[in-house]
């Protein structure tokens, strides 16, 4: 088998491979260990045949470094006679070479976190909200957003709960399901849409430092036109889905009712 050239970004020289090849190395049992050692992979890939091209990037780095400061002559005895004056003060002027600590398991930013969802929470499931201003209400789960929060709606007509984000942790998933495959959710319903709007004035002021800290926060929250629009659209489709499902009228009064624990009921022994 002809050795395949390694795909190193070496300046403009990119190795053209005819087809995407299967990786030669693989992890053992989802651990960090690889099947082949570095030496063995070197052999298998026949990397000894690949000529190393000196990266021109190094030169440009040197140039950039050189341009960063100006050499100036100074007077006085016994002090070297010249100084490097930085054009732009670098963020850090290390006296020692910082040792690079190898990040075996680099920190994952929030965006990259794995979003999990409980297995009994599927779109169309009826949820019981356990906290917040809508606690006790039975709402319909529409989908899980990218942040991991659940997008729910009452429907607002039935129990006053609007299109809203809710955390999985504050929710009981019931077995009751509504078929929402025909319910088309507007594209713009995402985390940014639901993000709390801080008043622009205040945020600018706090950033600037000089603020009228006694300035009243702006007027009470007013529902935007697009929210009304989306709520109406989703609710209409959802009410249709509820009507179409087997237990239509019962389901409606179910979603209107509030959940509570009655005497003698033990939540850990109950099936939801």
């Amino acid at each position: 088998m002809a050795p395949k050239a390694q795909k190193k970004p070496q300046g403009k020289q990119m190795a053209k491979s005819s087809a995407p090849h299967k990786p030669k190395n693989s992890a053992i049992n989802a651990s960090r260990l690889m099947k082949y050692s570095r030496a063995r992979i070197f052999q298998r890939k026949a990397a000894y045949k690949v000529k190393k091209v000196k990266t021109p990037a190094k030169k440009s780095a040197e140039k950039a470094a050189a341009a960063a400061f100006v050499v100036k002559k100074i007077g006085g005895d016994k002090n070297g006679g010249e100084r490097k004056v930085y054009k732009k003060t670098p963020k850090s002027l290390p006296t020692q070479v910082a040792s690079r600590k190898v990040q075996l398991r680099p920190k994952k930013t929030f965006k990259k976190h794995v979003r999990r969802i409980r297995s009994n929470l599927a779109p169309g499931a009826v949820l019981i909200l356990l906290a917040g201003r809508h606690k006790g209400k039975r709402v319909v789960l529409l989908k899980q957003l990218e942040s991991g929060l659940l997008l729910v709606t009452g429907p607002r007509k039935l129990n006053g709960c609007p299109l809203r984000r809710v955390s999985q942790r504050y929710v009981i998933g019931t077995k009751t399901r509504i078929d929402i495959s025909k319910v088309a959710l507007p594209e713009r319903l995402n985390d940014a849409y639901f993000r709390r709007q801080r008043s622009a004035k205040k945020s600018a002021a706090s950033a600037g430092g000089s603020a009228d800290i006694f300035a009243k926060s702006d007027a009470a929250y007013a529902v935007s036109a697009e929210r009304r629009e989306d709520q109406a659209a989703v609710d209409k489709a959802l009410m249709g889905a509820i009507k179409a499902s087997g237990d239509g009228p019962m389901l409606r009064s179910y979603l209107r009712s509030l959940f509570s624990i009655k005497s003698g009921q033990r939540p850990h022994a109950m099936v939801f």
Binding site: V126, K175, D247, S253, A269, M270, F272
Partner: protein, 156 residues
């Protein structure tokens, strides 16, 4: 304490009350000693095994089994005696089934049950109200008194 009519004997149908296979019925295939028996329930999914008498609740059914009958024989006698249907018809089995349904009710089921009860109770309350009204209209009616209770009627 009822009649002592349920004996531990070969062929006695018993209900397994706890442990593995709890809730199932089986037949006693052999008596080992004071405390243990060999049970077998091929038609109810109980493997042939030794069982402690403490786990078993005896039913009133008994099938005609030769002692140490093997599983195939037990199965044959069981199906011939139609024990599955007989067991299901007993109020014991019905109560178990009702309990099972009740514990497996979902939140929506519980809501529907509560709503059904409410409707039923309102119908009853309405009907009772009507009867009460009619009874008030009749002056010398029994009026919710015990029928045989002696009434002291004042002599004018």
């Amino acid at each position: 304490m009822g009649k002592l009519d349920k004996f531990v004997e070969v062929g006695r149908v018993a209900f397994i009350a706890n442990g593995k296979d709890s809730g199932k019925v089986c037949a006693i295939a052999e008596i080992i000693d004071q405390n243990r028996v060999l049970i077998d329930g091929p038609c109810s999914g109980v493997r042939r095994q030794v069982c402690d008498m403490k786990r078993l609740h005896l039913t009133r059914f008994c099938i005609d089994l030769p002692h140490s009958a093997r599983t195939a024989v037990v199965r044959r006698k069981w199906t011939a005696a139609k024990l599955d249907e007989k067991w299901k018809e007993t109020s014991w089995a019905k109560k178990l089934e009702a309990r099972r349904l009740r514990t497996n009710m979902s939140d929506f089921d519980r809501f529907k049950l509560a709503r059904a009860k409410q409707i039923r109770n309102s119908i009853i309350a309405l009907a009772a109200g009507k009867i009460r009204k009619e009874a008030k209209a009749k002056p010398n009616a029994l009026r919710f008194r015990k029928p045989n209770k002696k009434r002291h009627i004042k002599k004018e």
